[in-house]
Symmetry: C2
Subunit: 348 residues, 2 copies
């Protein structure tokens, strides 16, 4: 696997769809009265984002329809029963949910910045941010209920999205709970990131497949593709925090260690006798030295903890790609496989 070529193909596929997704989001979440509410609702959507999840939805539909990528209008897309559906609405509903969760998470975590701009509760206020998130939440269900798909498929997609949202809330609650606990098992951590991060990748693929009219086994396999890729993505995030220079990361390398955030890496290290709490003495990212981080990372390399996480991410990615076997052999399927690879080979 040539990861540079893979990355190039993925970034091109995402960029080609990003413009279309952004146009659709602008139509789906229009500026209207009350203006302050809708400004806040649109603020984070306008601040950027790769649009990886909607790209997964669109490629899933293209792979299932076995059409040449970007050859058919996403708003009038051929479902498997020959009817036309608006598969773009499924894609934007996922991005809208992602946006709602980020807005509410930033309030809960009291984070100041998101996508390089002030978080919504900083740019506006907490009340407006809560309400902006709630508005996006409803919008996602509106979008998914108006795709023109066969009603039983539309309803099944809505049910999947609702369950996904419940799981994301559970994942966020577990994340908060783990910060207060003295012991977290690696299995519990993997469960948490499945709920908090991976299920939305799963839903991105599965809702598109359901609306297209794919059979249950196919939908389930594509859901597993999203779940496994999403888990690998989160584990890779934890690895990158330790292995990528601060200037490339855009934040202090090793910040998870400084902030005592448990990851698969620290959990493995604990189980192998490493004094994780004593690895970094500095109390915050402003005072930590590069030498201290370097020494901590060396210790985690010695215990095999970083290699363990990398191996876990690779295993999940291999699983994810195997699930794509249910799809016809075509360019869109290859791009979905490339995205799974990209999620763990990306440099930051």
């Amino acid at each position: 696997m040539n990861s540079e070529a893979t990355e190039e193909r993925v970034l091109e596929a995402v960029a080609e769809r990003r413009e279309l997704v952004n146009e659709a989001l602008d139509d789906d979440v229009p500026m209207k009265s009350p203006e302050r509410l809708y400004e806040a609702t649109r603020y984070l959507l306008k601040a950027g984002g790769k649009r990886l999840r909607p790209t997964v939805s669109l490629l899933t539909a293209e792979a299932l329809a076995d059409v040449e990528p970007l050859s058919v209008d996403y708003h009038a897309f051929p479902a498997l029963d020959g009817s036309e559906i608006d598969v773009m609405s499924a894609a934007t509903s996922i991005e809208v949910i992602q946006s709602f969760t980020l807005i509410h998470d930033d309030i809960m975590d009291d984070d100041d910045l998101r996508r390089g701009v002030p978080a919504v509760h900083r740019e506006y206020d907490t009340e407006t941010a809560i309400l902006a998130g709630d508005t996006l939440y409803a919008k996602a269900f509106e979008l998914l209920s108006e795709t023109g798909a066969a009603p039983e498929n539309g309803l099944e997609a809505v049910r999947r999205l609702a369950t996904t949202c419940t799981q994301i809330c559970e994942g966020q609650a577990l994340d908060v709970e783990f910060e207060r606990r003295t012991e977290v098992l690696p299995e519990e951590y993997l469960e948490m990131i499945e709920l908090k991060t991976a299920v939305l990748y799963g839903a991105a693929a599965a809702t598109a497949a359901t609306l297209m009219g794919a059979d249950d086994d196919t939908v389930d396999a594509l859901y597993r593709y999203g779940i496994d890729s999403g888990r690998a993505f989160q584990i890779q995030d934890d690895v990158l925090d330790l292995t990528v220079p601060s200037e490339t990361l855009g934040k202090q390398r090793g910040s998870d260690l400084v902030e005592n955030k448990e990851t698969l890496i620290t959990l493995h290290a604990r189980q192998h006798g490493v004094d994780v709490d004593g690895l970094v003495a500095a109390a915050d990212v402003e005072t930590v030295s590069e030498a201290e981080i370097e020494s901590a990372v060396s210790r985690l390399e010695e215990s095999g903890s970083i290699a363990y996480a990398e191996a876990k991410a690779e295993e999940l990615t291999a699983n994810a790609k195997r699930h794509l076997d249910v799809l016809p052999d075509n360019e869109a399927r290859d791009l979905l496989a490339d995205i799974a690879d990209y999620l763990i080979t990306r440099g930051y």
Copy 2:
């Protein structure tokens, strides 16, 4: 109309269904892991509430099916096409949405108490309260997507609920905006309470009717029944704040005036030359005197503002009841009419 007999019939109908609704809520939102999240999610639902909105849903289904009230299992209820649906899930989904909006509203308004107990963000914390509201939000859509109704009806009900949630957010945003504005027109106030309060009554009736398989005109009429009753309910709330003794209200009479909250009454008074801002000099409900409130109320009576609001509520209630003409003439329909009357004749 004998309002005491009406009130008795309504309270009995509501009480008879409350136990069933509470049992269903306990099943629909069960205790599970993560425990702190689900405790918070269930906390307000367990704290009480009349269950007026789910009662409207259940009576709507009974009126449409033309069955004797309480004679059929709500979980296996005969839709108009002869199939069986879980109309209770439609009822609980509305109560779950109501609960979610109260939890988030109390954070936004920084209110300490709700239903006689600490608000969720006081009993737990703001992070947990945001997440508990978000969890209920998803749960409502899950419930509504699993009623067993014909898929096109299920999907239409979901679409209605999503639009309703968007409107509730818009109403809350307008309410906040009006507090900052120097002038609000009565029409704007009526629009705000329609969005913030009435649409959920509309959805309570309309989603049940849609799931039952009623035709579009019937669904629309029942939606209007809910909207007009809900608007009358909110206007009556504003009247009661001025006309009911503090001990009966359970809070300081005239608190809206002390807190400079605009209502249909104050907006009418302003348009008729009353210096509303000068009516009550006291800065908070702790220091206001009964004499000061009495004098303010007299002034609002002289300007005809209270009578104007009462007449408006009565007009809306009459409209609401006329919309029930689409239903078969039966006991459930009579009870829906009684509920509309009760919403404006209730003493507090």
